[in-house]
Symmetry: C2
Subunit: 326 residues, 2 copies
């Protein structure tokens, strides 16, 4: 069966790393049909719209989407694209690689971030000159859906259970509902959980990331704490992510458009290529996914490396080396 893969490079280094990841996928000789579409600052410049309707529709119908990065319009692009694939969970592995400088080389975490609500539900009002409000939304149904996914995830991937991170001591009703719902789903599945307050998690993960494994959290907590974990493993440059929905999914590096190096052909394609490996696993190509992971790891360890990792190789050199190692 042919899978249709939407490819949305976006802006900046997105235009360099996304084609690199497509090259890797093409090298695997799977029956993929790639369809490219525009989004981001450049297309807004031209058309007034950061996310053209046809790009949204493509993501909403393709089997999987590979997205690069967007500049100032990032939120206008990625948030609707997450909706386009009805993504209820954002999977963000944050792991240090052998041979890569990391603040905490023992970091090996996976964040399962709620991907539809929290402050991102975004009902905001300016009530008066002085007062603005935002309605944070937490539902039992979204918490349940995330928790069901988390239980399957830890079972399938042989983890001992997961940590629930929240701030229910302050957000008693909303994060309380999140926490209680996730705990009760986990209990039904016989999955072990522990609970950590969001602030305490931030301290503890720096001191000893080894004490955590899979972390289930609300939307903004997942945003900030996965970026914190990125800091611990040496930066955003290596982090992949998957926005998973019931019928389709969107894969993207956690990094942005890196305007300082965009256009020079020296962007590190690793995060996007690992995102493509997650895409392969999602579509059932487990062995090919593992092969890509291994090829990236070997290349990170033995080179060639792009300048962000102290090397002087180009995006094309690194991509070719990864393809060679497949």
């Amino acid at each position: 069966m042919t899978h249709e893969i939407a490819v949305i490079p976006g802006d900046g280094i997105g235009r360099e790393v996304t084609p690199a990841a497509v090259d890797v996928l093409e090298a695997l000789e799977i029956d993929f049909e790639f369809v490219e579409a525009d989004a981001g600052d450049a297309v807004r410049e031209e058309t007034g719209e950061a996310l053209p309707q046809e790009t949204y529709d493509l993501a909403a119908s393709a089997d999987a989407t590979l997205f690069g990065a967007a500049g100032d319009t990032a939120a206008d692009v990625i948030l609707p694209l997450r909706t386009a694939v009805d993504s209820f969970v954002n999977i963000r592995p944050a792991k240090a690689y052998p041979g890569i400088d990391a603040v905490r080389p023992e970091t090996d975490l996976v964040f399962l971030r709620e991907n539809t609500e929290g402050v991102y539900a975004g009902h905001e009002d300016r009530l008066t000159q002085d007062v603005s409000t935002l309605t944070r939304v937490v539902t039992e149904s979204a918490s349940e859906r995330l928790a069901e996914f988390a239980c399957e995830y830890v079972d399938g991937d042989d983890h001992d259970g997961f940590s629930i991170v929240h701030k229910a001591n302050v957000m008693r009703e909303t994060d309380g509902l999140f926490r209680d719902t996730v705990v009760s789903v986990a209990d039904e599945h016989g999955v072990e959980t522990d609970q950590v307050l969001m602030d305490a998690f931030a301290t503890r993960v720096c001191l000893d990331p080894d004490q955590f494994d899979v972390v289930v959290c609300p939307n903004l907590a997942g945003d900030v704490l996965s970026d914190l974990a990125a800091g611990l493993v040496g930066g955003l440059g290596l982090l992949p992510s998957a926005n998973v929905g019931p019928d389709r999914a969107l894969f993207e590096p956690v990094h942005g458009t890196a305007p300082d190096i965009a256009g020079q052909g020296i962007a590190n394609p690793a995060a996007t290529i690992v995102s493509a490996a997650m895409l392969l696993e999602y579509l059932g190509y487990d062995e090919k996914s593992a092969a890509v992971h291994e090829a990236v790891e070997a290349t990170l360890e033995n080179g060639p490396r792009t300048p962000d990792l102290g090397g002087d190789a180009s995006t094309a050199d690194v991509t070719a080396a990864i393809i060679d190692r497949l």
Copy 2:
């Protein structure tokens, strides 16, 4: 003029480190009148109330309050106490000490955390079985008050300016109001600012804390990011804080009740003693404040040390050593 100092030890190691800090203050022979009051789990056990009215009233009338820690009731105690002193800013220095193991020994940051609103304003509802909401509140007036304070702070303390941390790309109206208000106050004062998204800050502060100095942020961001900085300097054990209002202030270590070691007389009193040094500075005893800071630093570097820092000294030993060095 006699200053009345409210002393609220709370629970757990709060009952050990708070008296230690009072010992240090007493050794300075200032005309302080200490008045002790209860709060926390133990008093709730007895009376049903974590924060008795007389404790609230005391904090609301004393010149300054020294608070230890509270257990499960922490939020029921500290949030109203912050209101009692009308505290609009929580000052949280996070700095690594010479000789103390730190993930990032170059960390030297001060967070100025908005202390009245954001998600802490806490209007929550359970709309249906499925849906809960929390109304996050951001006002121009609170943002202005914080920004005015921040401008004075960086001027008085000889900093180059400050960073504004927010998530206005998602919370456009509320964090947008926060950001715009703080920027415009800073511009009026000729104070330099830069802006960092909350998630990007989490990554960047791990990679290179030196790039930041004074950080101005909304309430929850300040909670989480200062705890992250605590992780970078070796844990919560050394972080002091000040909740400052227009007429009075409350000082507290950032750590909690440490139930695992409570009652053994081995808690590290440093964070509470440095909080007392902040109290001294707040009341105008700048030289005595500096003396306490120096005595704590010398003791952290040369010992004696409590077990959390690899030593085997008691709280009393460390306190005596600090007093000796005054």
